[in-house]
């Protein structure tokens, strides 16, 4: 089953750039995953997902998101530096680790 990675952000511009980079990285590694991005308010319509990753400025929402997804989906805040450098490979690796966990 294709694993689904969901990025949650406030604005959406920068997250969509990161999604593109992650898709490139996934292609290189020949990983079949689906990666999507959404705003916090539309989160529910994008579920289910195998891992939820929040943009660094969404740190305050981590608990609420965990509650919303009922604790079955791993939730994490993307490392600030990885996000800033738009490091698709690193963020993808983090996502895969969390899914495996």
């Amino acid at each position: 089953m294709t694993k689904k990675i969901l990025l949650v952000c406030a604005g959406g511009f920068s997250t969509s750039m990161l999604v593109e980079k992650m898709k490139e990285a996934a292609k290189k590694k020949e990983l079949v995953v689906s990666i999507d991005a959404c705003g916090e308010s539309s989160l529910e319509s994008y579920l289910p997902a195998d891992v939820i990753m929040l943009g660094p400025q969404m740190g305050h929402a981590e608990e609420d998101v965990q509650e919303k997804v009922g604790g079955n989906i791993p939730v994490t805040v993307i490392d600030m530096m990885d996000y800033g450098m738009m490091d698709g490979e690193k963020v993808l690796a983090t996502a895969m680790k969390m899914i495996g966990a």
Binding site: G11, M17, S41, P56, H60, M81, G84
Partner: protein
Amino acid sequence: MEKAQNFRNKLQKISGIIQKNKYMSSISNGLAAVMPVLIGGAIFSLIDSLNLQIYQDFLVSTGLKTLTSLPAQVTTNVISIYVVFSIAYGLAESFKKSGFAAGIIAIMSFLIVTPMGKMEDQTMGISVQWLGAPGLFVAMLVAILVARVYVLVLDKEFYIKMPKGVPPTIEKSFAAIVPSMVIILIMLAIRGIFASTAYTSIHQFIFTIVQTPLTALGGSWPAFLICVAATSIFFFLGVHGPLVVYSVMGAIWTPLQIENMTAFQNGMDLPNLIVPAASLMIYAGIGGTGATIGLAFAMLRAKASRYKTLGKLTVVPSLFGINEPLIFGMPMVLNTKLIIPFVGMPLLGAGLSVVATSIGLLPPLRGIAPMGTPVVVSGFIDGGWKVALFQVLLIILSYVIYYPFFKKVDNQEYKQEIAGAENAEVTA
């Protein structure tokens, strides 16, 4: 260190609460949702007003002129009607009730409290006076009141209970009557009360007592500059500055923007010297929060390879005012070495623009350019070539101001990179 972290967490929590507050977010989202209508009208007002004599003569002679000036009249001039639906819709939906029903009841309510009268030809008409920018605050209040009462009535299950045996669909359609009737009663009461006062309508009352002073305060230069500084400081603490500031100030800033838009589209003088919503994008935040455009350019020739990469990554989005990669990648967050230009450059841009506009060097902004319009283009759209030229000057200024700070940081990073490489060689 502990204290700083705690403070940051508190700030994130507070900004989270502000952003999540249903009322505030329904206002900001409601205003944002009418953008397609506004932008449509705005683009046509540009097409309508292009300052080329041959072009204008062409428009008049072919009769197109009456058409091109129309969209603005049915959008910006009557924006309050769209807003009332939009905000009521959002608020009701956030309580998981039918936004559509709340929305149309809200439009009805807005019309109940808006003066209607007989025109010269004896047909009934509504003056557009209160349907545009001056009616915005009432639109927001009515939308929130209506949506909230609607939700309340449904929650308390105040509906006419039908006797057993009546089909559920009939009960449902009767159920929809109650919220509507309750709200009509409230609105009639409001209309009646205000009609008997010196203000004659709630519109006049709110406009005089609330909207005018609040927007004057919110659009004053001290308030504006504080907000500019706040957007940078919030990002310094890791919180999305513009989002928070806009959630709080959006309701007050929007009438200012719409007033200038309306004036521009009707060929009148622009009333507001400062349009914070527009100025934030056009003057204070070129390249994104912190006016980082100069920094992005400087990074293209960085010594440290990490900064070079970051620069290449950020330079194009910066032209559109997006700089999250810089904010989180530099990072600007908690970066005391770059905070001076991060807060100082936007303040400089904002301050210079305020002075230049008040002495008439620059025209007031029109408020037309949508968020994300590339720099220079945005200036041209919103104020003509003078503003566009001013933006170019601000870009250069941003580079000049950021450069010394960046050079220092770059040298340090470069040294670290070399040391790291040497260590790697040694251990290899």
